[in-house]
């Protein structure tokens, strides 16, 4: 089996090399999708900030100063708080908390969801019943209250704990969707053919079914990351988690507690809100990109959306677009 797949892979490599000279851009197809590229750039920016933010922050986010409630200036890019803390530094330092929680929760929840969903869908029978019941139970648990209770019970609840709690309550939706899709996939002819060829179950799942689920898994991951980010910010905003650990939610918590809106200190909450919106937007854009990229039929459409618009082509099923571009020299 392993030899076979090795040979196959080598053949594929050869084929790709042979095709390479004709289309050198093939390798970074995903990057040619404008939506995906925009999303990746924004996400990359925030990831970079998460890594280097605490080092490049101009001030200590906790440090008080005499510049109380200053609007944005060159000294304080996003202005200052009621006790003279630098909002820009708070946002920079807080990025790391947001990103870590988002991605840890996303990865953990997606992994659980894939394991349980695909297994339940593929094995069927009692295993399916049991796993479905489990995910149904987790589906009806109200997530935010549970997180509030758990986070409230753990006095030292840091970012990682919150991430794990979010993951533990957020995997069921993905598992359910994946189970349904797996159920439909395992009845398709190509899976039957794989089984008739003698492929092992794990290989059918990993090599035949999982690639077909890529779009759903990716969409679920991106959705969970967004949900985790929002949950964590919500928790910080309502003051459940420790308010001394900086993230965008903590900034909003202080802004709200000190009546920033009433005092007209827009610089206090607008940057954090914009950051949340930008991060959410980048995740959604990546999601669109994945959707268009994973489906080979949509691929060439998604890659050239702008060019197609310029040529006034709107690809639809049932109404083939007509452009008059070909030369019409035959009588």
């Amino acid at each position: 089996m392993s030899i076979d797949s090795e040979v196959l892979e080598r053949d594929l490599d050869v084929a790709q090399e042979a095709a390479a000279p004709t289309s050198p851009r093939r390798k970074f197809l995903f990057m040619r999708n404008t939506k995906a590229l925009t999303g990746l750039v924004i996400l990359g920016f925030f990831t970079l900030m998460a890594i280097i933010g605490p080092w490049i922050a101009p001030y200590d986010p906790d440090a008080r100063s005499k510049d109380v409630l200053q609007p944005p200036s060159w000294d304080h890019l996003f202005g200052t708080t009621h006790i003279g803390q630098d909002v820009f530094s708070q946002i920079l330092v807080g990025t790391r908390g947001v990103m870590v929680v988002g991605f840890v929760a996303g990865i953990v929840a997606t992994t659980i969801g894939v394991l349980i969903g695909v297994t339940a869908g593929y094995i069927g029978g009692f295993g399916d019943e049991g796993l479905s019941a489990l995910s149904n139970v987790f589906l009806v648990i109200p997530q935010l209250p549970l997180i509030i209770i758990i986070a409230g019970q753990l006095p030292s609840a840091g970012g990682l704990t919150v991430a794990l709690v979010i993951a533990a309550t957020g995997w069921a939706w993905g598992a359910r969707v994946l189970r349904a899709q797996t159920l439909s996939l395992r009845k398709r002819d190509f899976i039957e053919a794989a089984r008739a060829n003698g492929e092992k179950s794990w290989r059918i799942i990993t090599a035949e079914i999982l690639p077909n689920l890529t779009a759903i898994i990716a969409a679920g991951f991106v959705g969970t990351v967004g949900f985790a980010v929002l949950s964590q910010i919500t928790l910080s905003f309502i003051g459940i988690t420790s308010v001394s650990e900086w993230n965008w939610g903590t900034v909003l918590f202080w802004a709200q507690a000190q009546l920033a809106l009433q005092q007209g200190a827009w610089w206090w909450f607008v940057p954090a809100g914009l950051c949340i919106a930008l991060l959410g937007m980048s995740l959604t854009l990546i999601n669109f990109g994945i959707d268009e990229f994973v489906n080979p039929r949509l691929r060439s459409t998604g890659l050239n959306a702008r060019k197609l618009r310029k040529r006034q082509i709107r690809p639809r099923i049932g109404f083939t677009p007509v452009v008059h571009e070909a030369k019409e020299d035959r009588s």
Binding site: S23, R297, L298, S300, T301, L303, N304, K307, L308, R311, I313, P315, R316, I317, G318, F319, T320, P321, V322, V323, H324, E325, A326, K327, E328, D329, R330
Partner: protein, 363 residues
């Protein structure tokens, strides 16, 4: 199977086109496209059965779906006209229609029976309702009862008793479901019926029944049929005229008896030698050597030349056009795309023209 006289039409219909495809070009893919159809022209006369034949992937279905604008993405029509002439003589270009006109014209003017037609029925609705639905959608004034009555008539017409109206699709056999689809296609008395390999999934007995049914209905209702199949022997039986396609182009267009007895294009000749004749002297089954060219990198000149035993150096340089034949006494309406039939064109390009080979000049 190759020559059943009772299905042959006595006289060819006069030149009265109901559908004129002019210079239709189709691409697959938006950047780096593959030109699957290159300026194909084809006429369908009123009341005529036109057969489209050719190997898999030669563009038969693409032509039919492009003419009805049903090509799924990434299909793209890059040029041409598809003129539909209504019974009262008004012409409309299907490629220039807007969505609502196109929607209204579908099924009413042109109906389609799909390749897997048996699976086109919705398993949870009774077949009567499915037929009636379409009738009501196109004729808003009609009552449910009238529509169901009409559906019963239609079923009767295709040889299914009207009391099967309340059956679900799973209660019918494959052949019956196929006939339900044909009944459905005829529901609004269309002028053009496009059938995309309607009998491929059926056994030969059912194939014959359905083909006879179509021939009989055509006689009665006077619609035109575009019949797509790779089964040339079936086409010779049912079609009045056959267009043979190769690599996205029509290479021969002639009456079915002419194609069968007097093929003028080497590819048509090859196709006919790929199945045994039922009558006449025994002959060797030739088949066609090689395989069709890659549509994404088509060579210049004649696309068939690599597989053609009559090819010579001019074939690599000149792209043949669909023109009249060079054999004296041929039907003036038949056309063929082969350089052997266009000595003037060959001469003009500076090559030595060659005569039509004896095998392709049978009388």
């Amino acid at each position: 199977m190759s020559a059943v006289p009772e299905l042959q039409r006595a006289a060819r219909p006069a030149h009265d086109p109901v559908l004129e495809i002019k210079n239709l070009s189709v691409d697959y893919g938006y950047d780096d496209p593959t030109h699957v159809l290159r300026q194909v022209s084809l006429n369908l006369n009123r009341g005529e059965v036109l057969g489209l034949a050719g190997e898999s992937g030669c563009g038969k279905s693409t032509l039919a779906y492009a003419a009805t604008r049903l090509l799924p993405p990434p299909g793209l029509i890059t040029g041409g006209q598809v003129l539909f002439t209504d019974r009262d003589g008004t012409q409309s270009d299907i490629l220039a229609m807007n969505d609502s006109d196109l929607r209204a014209s579908r099924w009413q003017d042109m109906a389609i029976v799909f390749q897997g037609a048996m699976n086109s029925l919705n398993p949870v609705f009774r077949i009567g309702r499915q037929i009636a639905d379409g009738i009501q959608a196109h004729k808003p004034g009609i009552s449910k009862k009238e529509a169901l009555e009409r559906a019963g008539e239609l079923l009767d017409m295709v040889g299914i008793s009207a009391d099967r109206l309340r059956d679900y699709p799973h209660q019918l056999s494959g052949g019956m479901r196929q006939r339900v689809m044909i009944a459905m296609a005829l529901a609004l008395d269309p002028q053009v019926l496009i059938m995309d390999e309607p009998t491929t999934a059926l056994d030969v007995v059912m194939q014959r029944q359905i083909v006879e049914q179509i021939a009989e209905l055509r006689e009665r209702l006077g619609f035109s049929v575009i019949f797509i199949t790779h089964d040339v022997s079936l086409l010779i039986e049912i079609a009045d005229r056959i267009a043979i396609m190769y690599a996205g182009e029509i290479v021969e267009d002639a009456s079915s008896q002419d194609v069968y007895r007097r093929p003028r294009h080497p590819y048509a000749d090859g196709l006919l030698h790929s199945f045994p004749p039922l009558r006449g002297p025994r002959r060797e089954l030739g088949g066609i050597p090689g395989s069709p060219p890659d549509m994404s990198k088509l060579p210049t000149g004649c696309p068939f030349r690599d597989r053609c035993e009559f090819a010579w150096d001019a074939c690599a340089a000149i792209t043949p056009e669909l023109t009249g034949t060079a054999v004296a006494g041929d039907d003036p309406r038949r056309t063929v795309a082969c350089l052997r039939h266009t000595p003037d064109l060959v001469q003009a390009a500076g090559f030595e023209p060659k005569p039509v080979p004896e095998r392709l000049a049978l009388r």
